[in-house]
Structure formats: structure tokens, C-alpha cells
Symmetry: C2
Subunit: 214 residues, 2 copies
């Protein structure tokens, strides 16, 4: 069965997945690159200089067994990208998705075929509707939910996430987009594990518990 | 030099130090005892059945080298305890402090001498004023800041905390008293370390960096 997985989603100690304000120059606001420094130091990110320790072990799972991605509008571009007909995402001609990639937006546009197997499709759809489309496209493979925090929260609230890998970075952002709001008692349906890394981050995994028979 | 230390302060994944509503029956609100289960399973808490692993190693530092404690009013009793002239704290005749213990409240009352070396003193004072009194009482020893979350935040904001040991418990409370609010960029003045425990909690230490010479 196809799973819905989140990988490498970085948050601050106080639970923010991005700072503010988000813009073309500062995609993560005042967080800068600090939420993702751990990842840039892995072999997953840089095969030449990156490390191959626990951070890399977690990071590379991003790529394994994924047949489609879903992301929120705020991941695809800075606020207002819908007004720019030429906007093709942050990632240049060969984005790191390499599968059909569904962007949730209330203002859909024609699909964009990029290099390397990524095609961006734009959907004005609920989480469940988008997931049905992405699951169909993924075939036997899993669907990655790419973020941001608001989108992950919406899918969690709708009960649609099977596996959630968070990376808690030792900074306090104080403001931005918070992941945890409205998720009381998540531990009732997920097994939670934590592994600290020598880099200073903590890898948290939340794995949906198999339903017990009545 | 006498330090100000916080030990064994438990928070949820979403950063709450207590749930709600707090009352005589539910001192930690809907969190129940879930924030402190890790501690109750240590030798520090129960010398007969408790474990002696990493959770115990951290927990027992609570008692070492402390000459006084400061706590907020909400730690001393349920909301409204100031109206009960007979309230003597949650901890019975022999509280686990064993030093002068300063309770911050806008409605001070006469000091209470308990068994085992604990004397509760009641202060209507700013964090800096209370710390001056507690430091004097502690002599060569350190001052423990006992919480709750609001009190810790106030002392952090005032720049008065040298060492902060937090224990992140794998539950999502969703509501209650949040530790992290208003602490942006705490990592600029504190070294942050994280250690995950087999019990599922993560021990976070924030240690104030020595001032660098200009």
C-alpha cells in the first residue's frame, strides 16, 4: 500500500518550519539557511564533501521509493508567485523531485515539465483530493508530502500522513510558521522516536500505528 | 561564582511546561503525569525500583550543589492558593528542596519552616531582586530556578539564567503554558546540546556562553 511520507522537514526548538517574512530573497525569512545547514553538510546534499553519518542516513530517505510529491503553494514560490506567469519554482531547470509534483494552489496554471523527471501540476484541491491524484500517479511507490508547515498540519489533521520525519535544529526562531499548532494528542496515533545527532540536531520520527482490531 | 540553574524542566514536543486547566486535582492540567513519567522511572525518584541510566544521570543534578530555590507562584499551589491561609505547598511536610525556597507572589505571607531543611519564603519582587536574596542565602552554592514556564521565561528574558536543562517528552499537548514564547535567538548566548534517551525523551541543555573579550 502506498504511504504518505514527510522527510527532512526542519523545525526550530520552538517548532517553526520557516521564519518571517518569506520573500524571493529570503525563502525562509529570518531563519535564513540555519534550518537546513545540517542537511547541506550531508553526502545526500553534496556527494563530494558531505558526511555519511546519522544525518545523511535520515536525509537520503527523502529519495527512496517515492513516486510523487505534494507541496503547498508557499513551498513552490515566494508570496505572490501566482502573479508571475514565468515563475518555475526555486530549484532551477532540474528540480530535486524527479517525479510528478503536485502544487496546491487556489490559482492553478498549466503543468510545467522540467528536466530530470519533475513535472509540476497545479491543483486547487483538498488534501484528500490531491492525495488521490498523487497516489494514482505514484503507482506502487509512496507519496512524499513536501511541506511547508501549514500543509503538513492540514494533512495530519485530515489523518493522511503515515510517516513524519522532523529535524529539530537548536535555534529559537520566535516567529514564523509553526508546525505544532492544533495537533494535540498526536502521540495517540503515532509512535514517536527521537535520535540526537553529533551535529546538534534531533531527528524525530512519527510513524502511524497500525490500527488495532476491535 | 554562584550560578542560576534549571533542572528537570519537562516540556512537550510543542513546548508546553504544563497543560490546562491547572487545579488542585490536576496540577499539570490535561498533561497529567505524562510530562514527568521519565523522572518517576529514575533512581533519583525511586531508589528501589528506578533506573540509573542517562535519565537518572540528568535528574540527580537537581540536588547537587544547590543552596536555594526560586519558584513562581503557580508552582507552589493551584490557582487561588493565596486565598487559603493553610496551604503549605504540594509536597507534604518534607518538601524535596531542603534549602531556603523563595516563592514569587504578589501576596506574600509569613515564612513556612518545613521538615528536611526547606523553608518557604514569599517574595513580591522582580526576578533580579529575588535572585539577589536567594544568592545571598545560597552562599557558595548555586540557585535553582524551579519554574514554571512563565517564571523561567521571565528569568531568561532578564538574562539571569546560566544553565537550563529541559526534558522534551514525546507528547503533543496543544495547549497550556508554553516555554518558548518571546525567546528568539536564545542560541546566540547559549550553547545548546541535545541527547536522546532510550526512554523516548530528549535532554536539552542550554549553557550560557562565557562572555568573549572585546
Amino acid at each position: 500500500m502506498s504511504l504518505v511520507r514527510v522527510h527532512n522537514f526542519s523545525i526550530s526548538l520552538d517548532g517553526f518550519g520557516a521564519g518571517e517574512p518569506q520573500s524571493l530573497e529570503t525563502p525562509f525569512g529570518h531563519a535564513g539557511q540555519r534550518l537546513h545547514g545540517w542537511m547541506m553538510a550531508t553526502r545526500f546534499w553534496d556527494p563530494t564533501t558531505g558526511g555519511a553519518g546519522v544525518d545523511d542516513v535520515f536525509a537520503e530517505r527523502h529519495s527512496i521509493g517515492i513516486g510523487a510529491e505534494i507541496m503547498g503553494a508557499n513551498k513552490f514560490g515566494p508570496p505572490g508567485w501566482q502573479d508571475d506567469a514565468d515563475w518555475r519554482g526555486w530549484w532551477g531547470p532540474n528540480p530535486p523531485f524527479h517525479t510528478p509534483t503536485y502544487v496546491l494552489t487556489h490559482r492553478p496554471r498549466p503543468s510545467l515539465e522540467m528536466e530530470g523527471g519533475t513535472t509540476f501540476h497545479f491543483l486547487d484541491a483538498s488534501p484528500a483530493e490531491a492525495l488521490a491524484v498523487a497516489t494514482e500517479a505514484a503507482g506502487d511507490l509512496d507519496v512524499r508530502l513536501g511541506g511547508g508547515a501549514t500543509t503538513i498540519r492540514e494533512f495530519l489533521t485530515a489523518g493522511l500522513v503515515d510517516h513524519l520525519h522532523l529535524v529539530q535544529v537548536p535555534i529559537v526562531l520566535g516567529r514564523g510558521t509553526r508546525l505544532w499548532d492544533g495537533l494535540e494528542a498526536l502521540e495517540d496515533t503515532y509512535d514517536v522516536e527521537a535520535v540526537s545527532s553529533p551535529s546538534g540536531v534531533v531527528h524525530l520520527t512519527l510513524t502511524r500505528r497500525a490500527a488495532t482490531s476491535a
